[in-house]
Symmetry: C2
Subunit: 230 residues, 2 copies
Amino acid sequence: MSRILFDLALADDAVRLSPYCWIVKFAMLHKGLSFETKPVGFADKSKYPDPAYGKVPVLVDNDEMVKDSPVITAWLDRKYPQNPLTATKAEKAAAEFYAAWVGSAFNSALAPMLMLRIANNVADEDKTYFRTTREARFGKSLEELAATPDAIEKAEAALKVLAAPLATHRYLGGGAPNLGDYIVFGSFMWARTVTLKELFQAPEPVAQWRERMLDLFDGYARGAKSADAA
Amino acid sequence: MSRILFDLALADDAVRLSPYCWIVKFAMLHKGLSFETKPVGFADKSKYPDPAYGKVPVLVDNDEMVKDSPVITAWLDRKYPQNPLTATKAEKAAAEFYAAWVGSAFNSALAPMLMLRIANNVADEDKTYFRTTREARFGKSLEELAATPDAIEKAEAALKVLAAPLATHRYLGGGAPNLGDYIVFGSFMWARTVTLKELFQAPEPVAQWRERMLDLFDGYARGAKSADAA
């Protein structure tokens, strides 16, 4: 029996930054599944279970290989029906909405705050690859990206939306976390594993929810190493 | 037995534009509740059931008066438990998220496209009130507001997020609509009752969902009058 998640890491391979890998780790913890993680860097795809695919998260569960966080979480719910990640079709639709929203409204605001910090903390063999691919993606140097005006304001505007349900619910899942929480919190873990510095001001309901998320599963996420503590 | 929704109207009082009133109308249709609507304008609060409150929607259900769309929909679910508007606490949290999101990401993009059109179509006695209050709210003239750059791009960026769940679900509620659909679609009805002109390009999954929403309840929303058809 083996269940291995290939998990993106920095030069210190205890630092696991990928928000999408975090979603999968939370999904397995939610279901009470044991798993190992195997750190991989950015550049050397030969270390990935599917080099041609060239991305993580990839879960290798005994003889099955599953790729891409939304595919993996849906597969986990079929393969291990205990503790469903979403209880209704509407909850599943909401999780898909949260994923699209967090990408467009929050990750895009975090990227200018994080990318240069990440570039400074990837393994030596990843440095050129990371800078080249990210500068191509953003169409500017990482230094120009880091100077993006209004990134903090954009992040805080997104968090105001998130504060609305969290003002009256402990989790997006209601009384207990569901896939929606893990999807959104993955991005908070992206920020936290890169730096413990507070990059933005979270509204009180969001700050409290973040503490609850850090406490889940015996503080699994709270114990995660960050690059600036490395 | 009487159930009366006070419903914001333009000079042609068959044109009912308020997105928040639309949410309440859909919620009552969802539950199979009969109701009447009573048109009210913008300025003369003495026609409102609670002039001091001075806003709609207000629902007067026999001897009970309930105000504000989120309060009214929660009250409807307690008073008339049939066909719950949300089936789980996570669905309720999602509906609250959708409400905050649609306000910040979509209504704010629609406002520049709609406000001057609305000003030109309110009743004569509402013209000064409407312009004065809205210009104070936006901090600029309605003509300056109408010239906001990127309003269409902002609306279309929001609709890309909405397209994510609707690419694989018929409704935000899954196989059938729930409160989340009514909340988001209220804003589409705001646009549609002001003008039948296509103000933005909706991605295909959103365009198809809009058609399904217009067809609900024997085409209740499709039959709604718009100001430019008046």
